[in-house]
Amino acid sequence: MTGFASDEVHTRTAAGLIDAYGSGATTPTEVVSVLSERARGVNELVNAVITDCTASALESAAESELRYERGTQRPLEGVPIGLKDTIATAGIRTTGADAIYGDWIPDEDATLVQRLKDAGAVIVAKNSAFSFALGHEVNTHHGATRNPWDTDRTTGGSSSGSGAAVATRQVPVSIGSDTGGSIRLPATWCGVSGLKPTFGRVPTRGAMPLAWSMDTTGPLARTAEDIALVMDVIAGWDPLDSTSSRSTTGSYLSEIGKLPSGIRLGVSVDWYNEICHPEVQAAFDDAIQFMENNGIEIVPVSLPHAPMSQTVGWVTLLAELGSLHEITIDRLADYDVGFAEYLINSQFIGSGDYLRAQRLRTLLQDDYTKAFDRVDAILVPGNASFAPRFDGMMCDIGEREVFWLEIAARTTYSANITGIPGLAIPAGLGSNGLPLGIQILGRPFGEQLLLQLGHLFQTGTNHHELQPPITCSKAP
């Protein structure tokens, strides 16, 4: 290695690695080797991987190396990437983090995986997850993924391994899925960035469905810049995906530093911040101040139907997952215990409640229509509290503690119900040493502005650079 030492490799973002490959400072093979070794050490503590793909990754890395030598490199050439294990990979076991499809080896890649490979990305791991993107914090079949900031705590989920893997610098990017907050919650609680794209923006074909009317797939990374880099590759219409949008995509990376002037940022005057740990609120207020200091106008907005979002979300999710898993419900004992509970619960959601929830979705969309007539984006907390401890799973919200499921999706569900994009980014640490975050919600297909705002925040703060202590003391 000529440019930087092996103990620096993990500190590089995806964009930083591409620069380093281009300059000859390091090679994809060296990076994959170093990160794989690092992952093996760290995962004894955090358990972020279900299937290690190092062998095939080294083959891909060798090809990437040749391409750099020949000058034929592609946009993500040699970048190591993890995938939530609900996303199909040809020839590589895709378990759904459960036993029901535990031995499934897909014949073909999910659309987004094919796009990543075609762009030169190197798939290094299938990351752990809550079972079928919903189960409980302790997966019956694969164990708990532990929060690298405190291994007695959950990462949140369901893209738990993706959050932990990016936070511990096993990979610069991992692709997760988000049906009720499953990218943004682990991003917030692990101190990384995560984008839930607009429904239909990134193809979901080949990703195991949880609730088809709300499912999305998107990247977790340390920076908005890396998310933009990956979105340039994976976003866009897929003719084989009926939920995929035909609308044109942005040039996310090339535009990331070109924030237009006159941006108005909404702040909810009701509900969103009613339940919030004081330190989360303080970080949120600091973020508002940062935006104001950078010329962004802060505008109060009201979202009257937002308080219904959790119930609408749960009813929709349960009804749709019940329908999807009807084919294997007779194998209840084979499921992860937590997912099986949800599957049983789904049997008690009536058609009247499901249809009522669908009618309320359009009313919540009306709320956002009115808000987006006045503002370009809306700032909300990433989550109301910090990652809870496994024993009890109670979240501190200041004056009291609440069971984590009461607030896990509180600030995230509305984006899935309406289909709008949401970008979660780190906003510092609490006095307990745990990460907290903010989230920027945008108009449908407004990912570009969210990434621009996130990039602005990350050029003026260093929250995204903070490393969990586990990487200092335990990692090779």
């Binding site: 995509t249 119930t311 008690f348 009522r356 009618r359 987006f372 503002v375 289909g419 407004g446």
Partner: protein, 80 residues
């Protein structure tokens, strides 16, 4: 609305599911936790004739509407 554990067990059996005690307790707890939200959901005023009666595909149409009218084609900052 909540169900008794006996009713939960019967409904589950009717769907071919034999619940053990832990599962029964889990379902009971979840349904109780959801019951306030469901009551609120059922109490939301929805019109017999009105703007909230739409096709399920209107959720998607709303999203796609931004792609053509006010999404990426609109310059951020133009909001009035």
């Amino acid at each position: 609305m909540t169900y008794s554990q006996q009713t939960i067990r019967e409904i589950a059996e009717d769907r071919g599911l034999q619940l053990d005690d832990a599962q029964l307790t889990g379902v009971d707890g979840f349904l109780r936790a959801l019951s306030d939200g469901l009551s609120e959901l059922r109490a939301q005023p929805l019109a017999f004739i009105g703007s909230d009666i739409r096709l399920p595909t209107d959720v998607l149409a709303w999203i796609e509407g931004y792609a053509t009218s006010s999404g990426e084609s609109e310059e951020p900052g133009d909001a009035s």
